[in-house]
């Protein structure tokens, strides 16, 4: 991610809204700059971080757009792998050894008979290495001495500029105290990443989707806190995975004490580099869906199958059932959750959520192999169906017919 000093100069205030000056990927000047940096970066493979910084400074020269250059350079640097050079001893220990024998003067004299070269030669010999390695290893643990081991993704000027734009867009959120979003799809990924970045939420159904407010534990008590800005910024690419969404953040102005509005929605050309969750979480789900499509697909049956299209809001967490059945004519719905995994923690968490959801229109499809007995499931409000090897679709549909609301 970019540092604050690389983001602030790209921010503009218009009235009470904050805007980011993004780069146009078609712009020749930026394409040329991106190309120069990508080429330079590749040339510096095997060189140190300090040398990269110096090279970028030289490229900057007296250019006024140095903030953008440094931002592009940071994206390149962040996407690469840097390693510490190996050394005969850990650098800190090496320093103790070498400095313990110093100081040396520029020229040997009566009181300092050993010259620098002689002393280092002696130590190198003791360690079974040579002077050059010794000198290089002395401060190998400094950040500026780390070595570019892998250049990272194969950047094109367009891809670098686009990623830079994403980093700018998310960086604005460093100064946010609150984020409000409306989402209409991609629920599984949205909540998974929310949890990953330790954000708290409050959600309500909204126009076929959900309206979600994001903040952190201390927000209700210190409404002006921007403590969670980094987490909002880290989270943003998850929002970009959805197909339709809007976001409004309340952000502290970098230029005054005012609070400003920062808006973004799914029409944005930015793309996310986050991984989407797989098409199906398990073989069982995939097989179930495949069988349904085979028997009732193409509108042959009364019911339509959809995946994860309803979020059950449970105070400080959510449950997103695997499937939903919607009647083609009267719109009745039933939900289905497959319990296919044996691990006790998984089962405990899932069951706790099912109970908390308290939905009588939720069917639990339980694989006999997971060892969940009927007693453990007596207080589950919906219906429970067991299967040995494969769910019996006929039985499932009969149940759906019975309990759909």
């Amino acid at each position: 991610m970019l540092t604050a000093d690389l983001i602030r100069p790209r921010l503009r205030v218009r009235g009470d809204t904050l805007h980011v000056e993004l780069l146009s990927p078609e712009n020749r000047h930026w394409q040329a700059s991106a190309t120069d940096l990508i080429d330079l970066f590749q040339k510096l493979s095997g060189h140190t971080s300090g040398e990269w910084e110096t090279a970028v400074e030289q490229l900057e020269g007296e250019r006024l757009d140095y903030v953008v250059l440094r931002g592009l350079a940071k994206v390149l640097s962040d996407g690469a792998t840097w390693v510490t050079r190996s050394s005969p001893l850990p650098p800190a220990d090496l320093r103790r050894l070498v400095f313990g024998r110093g100081p040396v003067l520029d020229e040997a004299d009566l009181f300092h008979p050993q010259s620098r070269a002689m002393l280092l030669q002696d130590i190198a010999a003791e360690l079974g290495t040579d002077i050059i390695t010794l000198e290089r290893s002395l401060f190998a643990d400094l950040a500026s001495e780390s070595v570019l081991a892998e250049v990272g993704p194969a950047w094109t000027p367009e891809s670098l500029i686009t990623r830079y734009n994403l980093e700018l867009t998310r960086g604005v959120l460093y100064w946010a105290r609150l984020m409000e979003v409306e989402i209409y799809d991609g629920y599984q990924d949205f909540w998974r990443y929310l949890k990953l970045f330790k954000l708290m939420f409050e959600a309500k159904p909204y126009q076929g989707g959900y309206g979600v407010t994001l903040d952190g534990p201390i927000s209700p008590f210190v409404s002006t806190t921007t403590r969670y800005g980094r987490q909002f910024a880290a989270f943003l690419p998850a929002l970009l995975l959805g197909e339709r969404w809007q976001m409004r953040a309340t952000v502290k102005s970098p230029f005054s004490d005012d609070w400003l509005r920062y808006e973004l929605n799914s029409t944005s050309p930015l793309t996310s580099h986050f991984k989407r969750s797989g098409e199906f979480d398990s073989r069982m789900e995939a097989d179930f869906a495949a069988e349904f499509i085979e028997k009732f697909g193409e509108g042959r049956g009364q019911w339509q199958l959809s995946r994860e299209d309803e979020v059950l809001l449970l105070e400080d967490t959510v449950m997103i059932p695997d499937f939903a059945f919607t009647h083609q004519k009267d719109g009745r719905r039933a939900l289905l959750e497959i319990m296919g995994f044996w691990h006790p923690d998984y089962l405990r968490r899932k069951l706790a959520k099912v109970r908390a959801a308290g939905r009588s229109d939720l069917i639990l499809l339980v694989y006999e192999g997971v060892n969940l007995t009927a007693e453990q499931l007596t207080d589950v409000p919906g219906e429970v169906l067991y299967f040995k090897n494969k769910p019996v679709l006929k039985d499932v549909m009969a149940l759906v017919e019975r309990i759909a609301k």
């Binding site: 007296e62 320093r95 040396v104 330790k198 201390i218 008590f221």
Partner: protein
């Protein structure tokens, strides 16, 4: 989502599990997102109420530590009185101690008496490093450090106000005692927020200057509310005096080499030319540099001038003549403990490599820094080089010779260096060398400073 009634710690708040909205809870709690929640600092007050409310306390994750005090100095009467007052106040509150009255010693005894996981919060990195060294020596055990470059958490840990927020958010309930050094910084918005988030029931604030009531209001936090009241103030006349050394200063002027001189004059023309043309000192007074930086974002000439200034500073800091003088001084005072101060890290590392002497910069780990300073005190290292100005309140090791390379420091820093670097070592007079480049901006600045003798400070 289980139905056990319990209180747990979450990101700087306390949350009650298993209790519904209809059941009244103590006033500090608010119903948010399906649970009763409050700021973590209320924990001390809530702790005794929990059994009566039939709520299990799952907050504490601190440990009992078997501490042995290796610091055998006898506490002063006033230090014992301060500690006793703090105990009587339920181990919550602040002690006001003048500078030099041994607040670290008081803190060490407080930690020793409590014998539980403790966190010390310091305002600067220099102080963090100092606390680290003193705690390691006092207890002869591992001490954690938590700040930008190092995040090592142990039952005894030192952090900064800047980094404490993150540590507390994740591990606040790992500490039973929190000590706020220079607690007069606490009212600041983000730093007070950290205290708000800390569940530690035992709190000690230390300062020489407790802020007035009006300095703790109007959007700023209140120390009394977050830590506790002042429990003891140490009167000044209880303390004994201490004398600082008399020392002499010598200013050594070096010449730039020919290539250095050419480069300097070229860049100086660019920089000074711009300065005069825009008359920045008249228009912006002492904020001229900020204005120059602001302009350089969109004004090509300003950018040229700023870059020229940066090149000048780098050139002067690393002028070859300064290295030559340094070498001759190291030769001349080859049996004296010597401290070398540089303008920037690059020069510090260059000197370390050239003369094979230890170096301390902001990148040096707490452990290595402690080792270097202690080995230096014992005479195992004769000289050390640092790019940091060792700031207010930090112990500077004893030296007979101090060499300051560069006259670009501001007057205040320079005088601080003078006042703190040199301690009386027996009867011997210490000496401070200031090495500057002739006919450059360094010379102008050095002449502007009026040398002041700092005789002694009665405390």
């Amino acid at each position: 989502m289980s139905h056990e009634r319990s209180l747990y710690f979450q990101g700087g708040t306390l949350v009650i599990n298993g209790v519904g909205a209809s059941e009244a809870m103590p006033e500090v709690f608010r119903w948010v997102k399906g649970h009763w929640r409050c700021e973590a600092y209320h924990y001390a007050r809530l702790r005794p109420m929990l059994t009566g409310l039939d709520i299990q306390d799952t907050v504490p994750r601190w440990q009992t530590i078997d501490l042995h005090l290796h610091d055998t100095r006898e506490p002063h009467e006033y230090q014992l009185a301060a500690l006793s007052a703090w105990e009587q106040a339920g181990q919550q509150g602040s002690i006001v101690l003048p500078t030099g009255a041994g607040k670290t010693f008081v803190a060490i005894h407080a930690i020793h008496n409590v014998k539980r996981s403790a966190l010390v919060v310091a305002p600067t990195l220099d102080l963090l490093h100092q606390w680290y060294a003193r705690l390691v020596n006092a207890f002869q055990m591992e001490v954690g450090v938590y700040y930008g470059a190092e995040k090592i958490v142990h039952p005894l840990t030192v952090t900064t106000y800047h980094s404490a927020g993150d540590l507390i958010a994740h591990q606040g309930n790992n500490f039973k005692l929190v000590i706020y050094d220079e607690v007069h910084h606490l009212p600041a918005p983000s730093w007070g927020e950290t205290a708000l988030m800390t569940p530690a029931p035992l709190r000690l604030g230390l300062t020489a200057t407790y802020p007035e009531a009006h300095e703790q209001s109007d959007g700023r936090w209140q120390i009394d509310e977050l830590i506790g009241p002042i429990v003891y103030e140490v009167p000044i006349n209880d303390l004994t005096g201490q004398q600082l050394a008399e020392y002499r200063t010598e200013r050594i002027r070096i010449d730039l080499t020919e290539p250095e001189r050419t480069a300097y004059e070229t860049d100086y023309a660019i920089y000074a030319g711009f300065f005069r043309a825009r008359n920045l000192r008249r228009t912006h007074g002492k904020n001229w540099l900020m204005e120059l930086m602001r302009l350089s974002a969109f004004d090509a000439e300003a950018r040229r001038a700023l870059l020229a200034r940066q090149r000048i500073l780098r050139l002067l800091a690393g002028a070859e003549g300064k290295f030559a003088i340094l070498d001759s001084l190291l030769r001349e005072y080859s049996h004296e403990q010597t401290l070398i101060f540089t303008e920037n890290n690059t020069v510090a590392y260059a000197i370390a490599r050239r003369h094979l002497i230890p170096v301390i910069t902001h990148e040096t780990s707490a452990d290595e820094r402690k080792h270097i300073l202690e080995a230096y005190q014992l005479g195992e290292y004769r000289a050390i080089v640092t790019s940091r100005v060792l700031n207010e309140g930090v112990d500077v090791p004893e030296a007979k010779v101090a060499i300051v390379l560069g006259g670009t420091a501001s007057a205040r820093e320079y005088i601080q260096r003078l006042g703190r670097v040199l301690r009386k070592v027996g009867n011997r007079q210490a000496v401070l060398f200031e090495v500057i480049a002739r006919q450059t901006t360094e010379e102008g600045k050095a002449q502007r400073r009026k040398p002041r003798r700092i005789a002694h400070a009665h405390r």
